[in-house]
């Protein structure tokens, strides 16, 4: 295995987003929550636009709208005005205050501002304020996402009598994936707090009235109860060392386990077994049927994918899990790339793909320019990643299977299911069909059976 970090003077077609976007996504998964970005108006608007183009839902993110005065003298008053105007318009239950480059660089003490503003708000009816530090010049959207989750739990979780509850803290998965997690917990009959949960807030039904904030999200009371749960399962190999799960373990003694995203048979087995162990209940029978159907499909389709070379890119969570999935079905994850700094990525992919036959290149801190070059060198048959790699797929004339975030050039990115046996089933079918489609088009015979 070869690990490379792109040494570069500039990013060319970025493969990562900034921390405030991740924080906004995390806050979008909390009941009645709304994000306020402390900085210039553009940060909020650009991030809204980027999220809207994927989720195709209203995503209202406020800004303290810095002008030169705030950039010079500080934005405490603007922040308070923003909070007050958000309350007047949206009546949120929680306001996540995420910082931006400019606020961080001028040294805004947002945690203190939040405390002071909170003290002046009507104590019973006012929203909970959750400040989080998310400068764009540090880390990526994934760090912003996990930092926000940490602050949410730190602010809200309370100790309580030990209960059978469990917590699931998940990385940046799709609304359909969150729905899957909820369904599994219901199947097990376990009371769970799934944090965050934007399955309804970012993929909800049509409105009859002008609602302001959408329904759904992890309940505030359910987050409070996270401190009294027996276990926290963190899903995603990119979950940082100081995560919400670590906080709960350290502060309230809630046992914390880290798992990869459950994509494919082995990873889903591990998740199901971990869940069964955490709640002391057997895996519901229906999952045995789904698992069996998936194995049946693997056998039906294995020849089409065997030895095919996949280029996988995205967040570390997704890349590790997809590499494991590719290895499991006989594909070679020839290139695994992420825009984030992920020093442990190569080792984790090594664990996830033990029987891979062929060299695997692992690239972190890269951009799409780097992925494009490395994909040519790796000899790609198929790309698996966000829609932003479409130009590479076009250049190499190979199919792109769109997964995770963002999917800006197709409808339904929010409903892509990746997790569980059914998620793997969908992925497997899509990958095989893309390969068949290419083969069918390439032949003059116009085969009717493939």
């Amino acid at each position: 295995m070869k690990r490379e970090t792109k040494q570069s003077f500039a990013a060319v077609n970025p493969c990562r987003l900034c921390a405030p976007l991740g924080a906004a996504l995390a806050f979008a998964g909390v009941e009645g929550a709304m994000t306020l970005l402390h900085g210039s108006q553009g940060c909020a608007t650009y991030i809204r636009r980027f999220l809207i183009s994927h989720f195709r839902e209203p995503i209202d993110i406020a800004s303290s709208s810095f002008a030169e005065d705030e950039a010079i003298f500080g934005g405490a008053a603007a922040l308070e005005q923003a909070v007050s105007n958000m309350i007047a318009q949206y009546h949120p239950r929680l306001i996540g205050i995420a910082t931006t480059c400019v606020a961080e660089t001028i040294g805004e003490d947002v945690a203190r501002y939040a405390r002071e503003i909170g003290a002046r708000l009507d104590s019973g009816a006012g929203p909970v304020l959750v400040p989080v530090s998310t400068p764009s010049y540090k880390g990526s959207h994934a760090e912003g996402y996990h930092a926000a989750l940490y602050r949410i739990v730190e602010t809200l979780a309370r100790p309580g009598a030990a209960s059978d509850r469990i917590n699931i803290v998940a990385g940046m998965i799709s609304p359909a994936d969150f729905r899957f997690l909820r369904e599994v917990c219901n199947g097990f009959g376990v009371i769970a707090t799934i944090l965050p949960d934007y399955s309804e807030t970012l993929d909800g039904g049509i409105w009859e009235h002008n609602r302001g904030l959408p329904d759904g999200g992890t309940g505030i009371n359910d987050i409070r109860a996270m401190g009294s749960a027996s276990n926290t399962l963190s899903l995603g190999r990119g979950v940082p060392d100081m995560s919400a799960g670590d906080f709960l373990e350290r502060t309230f003694g809630v046992r914390h386990s880290r798992l990869g995203l459950p994509i494919g048979i082995q990873a889903t087995d591990a998740f199901m077994n971990a869940l069964a162990a955490a709640c002391g209940k057997p895996v519901p029978a229906r999952y045995a049927a789904e698992r069996s159907r998936l194995i049946d499909a693997y056998v039906d389709g294995h020849k089409y994918v065997f030895g095919k070379r996949a280029v996988i890119y995205g967040d570390p969570d997704a890349v590790v899990a997809l590499a494991g999935f590719c290895g499991e079905i006989g594909m070679v994850p020839a290139l695994c790339a992420t825009g984030s700094a992920a020093p442990g990525l190569a080792a984790r992919i090594g664990e996830a793909v033990p029987e891979s036959d062929g060299p695997v290149t692992v690239l972190d801190k890269t951009d799409f320019d780097g992925i494009s070059d490395a994909a040519s060198a790796a000899g790609a048959d198929i790309l698996i990643g966000s829609s932003k790699g479409n130009f590479i797929a076009g250049r190499l004339d190979v199919p792109l299977v769109r997964v995770f975030f963002p999917v800006h050039d197709r409808i339904g990115g929010q409903r892509l299911l990746h997790l569980g046996y059914r998620g793997a089933q969908e992925l497997f079918d899509r990958i095989v069909n893309e390969i068949l489609d290419k083969r069918q088009r390439a032949s003059k015979a116009e085969y009717a059976y493939m």
Binding site: A10, N13, V102
Partner: protein, 463 residues
């Protein structure tokens, strides 16, 4: 504590009350102010204004000096086409990290510029300042000067720190950047020549407009910035007339060229039959040339004849519907109001992100007295207005789309991300088909607004 007040039956933040008014009321909405904190403005920032205006210059290197987000969110963001180089579609960023925040980013900027210019061989480079570059005080101008000297191409700093004003100030910074490239006028200007300013060649619109002028016998020197090239921009002062579309973004450049090079300008819109025809006739009037006049008449006659049957057919399906418009600039809003009217649609709400007082005065004059005019609006206001005014069709950009769709209201994109050319006569027919595709779609009979079943009623009983 802030409160909301009710204007035209919808709640509006008290601080924003002066920015919302009926067209027939005593005063025009106030405008030109920065966005109210916490209002969830649809505007972006100064950087955004500069980036969208300069983006279509296809043979330039566009380098964002700032953090990764500013570059990631503006990568390949416009549907601006190029007939040649595609360099504008690649996103370049110095990707500032904590290290540069502490020690300064000039070294990194210099290294990035040199390496990228060597690699891409651009005709010029634009360096966009972001908030952070301004705060840490990098001397971008100094670095640009040095690289320009060493590499022998123009390297132009764009003063677009996000917090230094509104999107409009970003337009201004972009105009200043373009102006700095333009060479002094030659002694003799070709008699029948124009520049097109403020068209961005979305889905080939600049090409369409350029073809009209060429058919009239006018030569087009520079298009700014749609399908733009540095060499053309540099000799822009050799044209006789600047034709300024999307006047919000390019008027500053037109004025500077008038002052410095004595170039006259005229405002134009190529959106809608009426406005396009007027723009062509105005240009012909300017040159006062009989052949140009004749060609313009011929052109308008044949183009209008070609689209009239289609427009009549669609007008019959749209008549009586109510529309709403929320776009960047007021000049476009006015064109849209007229174009909708030509399809039998009245405009119940008209708003813009960056309109100025003159624009709003003109917009009020054009609209019905009970049309709501709104400046720098937000999702809460817009959704309330759409419902309160019984709007069937909303016209805006990507950020406005979910506002309409979530409430089950039809929508057409008229922003820079679209893939459909809407300029000119054929463009109007395409626009009409866009309107038809949402106004006449059968899916809207299922939405609660049109088909709310009584509670407890069997599913589908409302439809």
């Amino acid at each position: 504590m802030s409160a909301t007040v009710r204007i035209s039956d919808v709640p509006v933040l008290a601080q924003r009350a002066p920015q919302v008014a009926l067209a027939g009321s005593g005063a025009a909405p106030s405008c030109g102010t920065k966005s109210v904190a916490g209002s969830v403005s649809q505007r972006a920032c100064v950087f955004c204004g500069s980036r969208v205006v300069l983006y279509p210059v296809a043979d330039a290197l566009h380098l964002v000096h700032g953090p990764i987000g500013c570059a990631a969110y503006t990568w390949d963001i416009r549907g601006a086409l190029s007939s040649g180089p595609q360099l504008h579609r690649t996103s370049f960023c110095t990707d500032l990290s904590e290290r540069e925040i502490i020690y300064g980013g000039e070294k990194k900027l210099y290294a990035a510029l040199c390496a990228l210019i060597d690699r891409e061989r651009p005709a010029a480079a634009f360096v966009y300042a972001t908030c952070i570059a301004g705060i840490i005080g990098d001397d971008i101008g100094g670095v640009c000067k040095r690289v320009a000297r060493e590499k022998g191409i123009p390297v132009v700093p764009v003063q677009s720190e996000g917090f230094r004003g509104t999107k409009k100030d970003g337009y201004r910074a972009a105009c200043d950047a373009l102006f700095s490239l333009i060479e002094p006028p030659p002694r003799e200007r070709p008699p029948l020549s124009v520049n097109i300013l403020g068209d961005f060649n979305i889905a080939g619109e600049t090409w369409e407009v350029k073809r009209y002028f060429e058919r009239m016998g006018l030569s087009v020197v520079a298009t700014m910035t749609g399908d733009g090239r540095i060499a053309d921009i540099r000799r822009a002062a050799s044209a006789r007339l600047n034709i300024v579309q999307c006047s919000g973004s390019m008027m500053h450049l037109a004025r500077r060229l008038e002052e410095s090079a004595g170039m006259p300008y005229m405002r134009a819109s190529f959106f809608g039959i009426e406005d396009t025809a007027r723009a062509l006739y105005d240009a012909a009037d300017f040159f006062g040339d009989a052949a140009v006049h004749g060609a313009a008449r011929e052109l308008v006659k044949s183009e209008v004849a070609a689209v009239t049957p289609e427009l009549s057919r669609i007008r019959a399906r749209c008549r009586g519907k109510r529309g709403a418009v929320y776009v960047g600039g007021a000049f476009k809003a006015m064109s849209l109001v007229r174009a909708l009217r030509s399809l039998g649609i009245t405009t119940a709400v008209a708003g813009t992100q960056t309109g100025n007082a003159d624009d709003y005065a003109a917009l009020r004059g054009l609209c019905d007295p009970d049309t709501v005019i709104v400046d720098d609006s937000n999702p809460r206001e817009l959704s309330s207005l759409l419902l309160a005014r019984g709007v069937d069709l909303f016209i805006g950009g990507v950020k406005e789309r979910p506002i309409a769709y979530k409430l089950g209201i039809g929508f057409c994109d008229h922003n820079h991300e679209r893939k459909l050319g809407l300029a000119g006569f054929a463009g109007m027919a395409r626009f009409a088909r866009e309107v038809e595709s949402t106004v006449a779609s059968p899916v809207f009979r299922f939405v609660p607004r049109n088909a709310a079943p009584a509670s407890g009623a069997p599913l589908g009983s409302g439809t």
